[in-house]
Symmetry: C2
Subunit: 326 residues, 2 copies
Amino acid sequence: MSGNRPATSMDVARAAGVSQATVSYVLNDRPGSRISEETRARVRDAAERLGYVPHAGARTLRTGSSGLVLVALPDIPQGPLATGLIEGLDKELGGRGYTMVQYGGARHVKGVAAAKAWAELRPAAVLADGARLTGAGIEVLRAAGVKAVVGMGLKAVPGIPSVLADHEGVGALAVRHLVDRGRDGIVAIVPREEGIRPMGLERLRGARSVGVPVKAVDLAFDEGEAAAFVAGLSGGEGVFAYNDDYAMLLLAALHDAGLGVPGDVAVVGCDDLPLSRLTRPRLTTVRPDLSAAPATIATVIDRLVRGESCGDVGIWTLELIGRDST
Amino acid sequence: MSGNRPATSMDVARAAGVSQATVSYVLNDRPGSRISEETRARVRDAAERLGYVPHAGARTLRTGSSGLVLVALPDIPQGPLATGLIEGLDKELGGRGYTMVQYGGARHVKGVAAAKAWAELRPAAVLADGARLTGAGIEVLRAAGVKAVVGMGLKAVPGIPSVLADHEGVGALAVRHLVDRGRDGIVAIVPREEGIRPMGLERLRGARSVGVPVKAVDLAFDEGEAAAFVAGLSGGEGVFAYNDDYAMLLLAALHDAGLGVPGDVAVVGCDDLPLSRLTRPRLTTVRPDLSAAPATIATVIDRLVRGESCGDVGIWTLELIGRDST
DNA sequence: GGGGGGTGGTTATACGTATAAGCATTGGAT
DNA sequence: ATCCAATGCTTATACGTATAACCACCCCCC
């Protein structure tokens, strides 16, 4: 079996005593083709026996486009939320006949260079972090015949449909909750890390949209910085910590400083990580519900591939999970 | 520019006033081809102007194999360690001229079905979770011309080189540390979750290889179960918690039960997650050092693709990070 | 008995690329 | 003047597939 070269549809045809065209018709179940059931069986049997595997490249060459959906994620550490989204999306796209593939390709590469790399595969669709897409890059993909180019991130990419994450809503929801709890010294943490800082700023905008004064504090994910920040608190503040990781960083620093939570300082995170339930006090957090996202995104992609039009869609809905830290 | 169909090497040839073969020679920098520097410049210029992007499928068809490296991960939640490994591997493979792609494709699919899906792309290499590879599946890949089939996981896959994670070492290192700290009631947590349970059992084997009695305790990642487990402790035990997540689960339960760490119970985790430094007391943990893995794995793949032989390799070295929980 | 329309296929072609083999031109060396 | 070798290309072909177009056959109906 591990003979010389991979079996082709021509090999299958010979083995089944039919023409190569017939093999193609049968194995692709092409509707409208008039092949008898017994011939179909013979072909399928031969294909199975020979271990025939179609050549995706040849098919792409012939049809002009592969059934590939390229997913190019942003250059940020991926937590369980993103992982779940990717898995769900894979399932949805698979069900619609696409093959999803994550293009690991050097995350820092963007613009035309990234677009050219993606375009080589002649994918049916590209779902990419908005920060990696540029107008010229989109043009390259278009020219390469990519039917669906979809952006993903916090801002709509001009000219193409985008999958948008409402970061402002996170900040707004968190701060509104802190205000409800009677806090008036509101602080919003803005992470210093390159990749996530834009989201931090967006969440800050949302925090400020509530109407109360919000003090912005830049912070790296570092115990020393956290300790210094906590040392400057006077007590009574409500802190929106950007996300659960930062919230846990702050909880540790507050503990070390002998400040009570929520007695002295209230803390709210975001993401509802499994680990965030294990803090003492238990962490109040904003939970992004991504359960509808895979189907939504898959539908957008499918519509675009079919040539229909499509607008922007949201990726999540937000819910505040009140626990003991506020 | 966004004309009708993507530009081909033939289009570039016409624009540059040369033959298509010349375009191929120039753009691939084929050594040994005798093309003048000025012609090269004309070709490159024309390619740039037309926004030429080569057709990977056509190239694959012609050459018999794509430069693709398919990575099919195991069906377990991926933390920062795995993420870092993937990114590093992408960089290493990219530097060697390969294009790495993560095949999200339905994680539960394995064996021949998975192999056929992978084989369609005629990748140069497949790096897959050992649990998803079967003998017949490997045969399918071989027959499809995949030069490098590499397993990854806790056990070597027969017949092919594997990238092995030493889980026994984790258990052994953790338990040895607990013994050094004077604990004699040693408990090893074995997670109940499907995907990670085999690793838990392997770590347990390692724990038992030390020579002292080790009590195995099955545990789901659940606060209730953790509380019940903790309630059964008599004090003085040393617990190897499988990993940092479980360790944090236990720390919370111990805290709730009023047990002191490490006074009453010592806890050691594994992974050295960023968050594990934030527990109070700070968590002692086994840190897997994966820094050498990307280069190692890329070398294995490259050797196999070139037709050279290769044996199994380890994926990490282990180090115990002693903090305050033991 | 000749035309019409299903049935069950076959033949032929094009997709875009890489590369072996060939061919014209030039610059010496003999 | 002639032959050789190097230079700088071009011509031709094959890779494996999908699909349009064609064809033989049989049956039925007027």
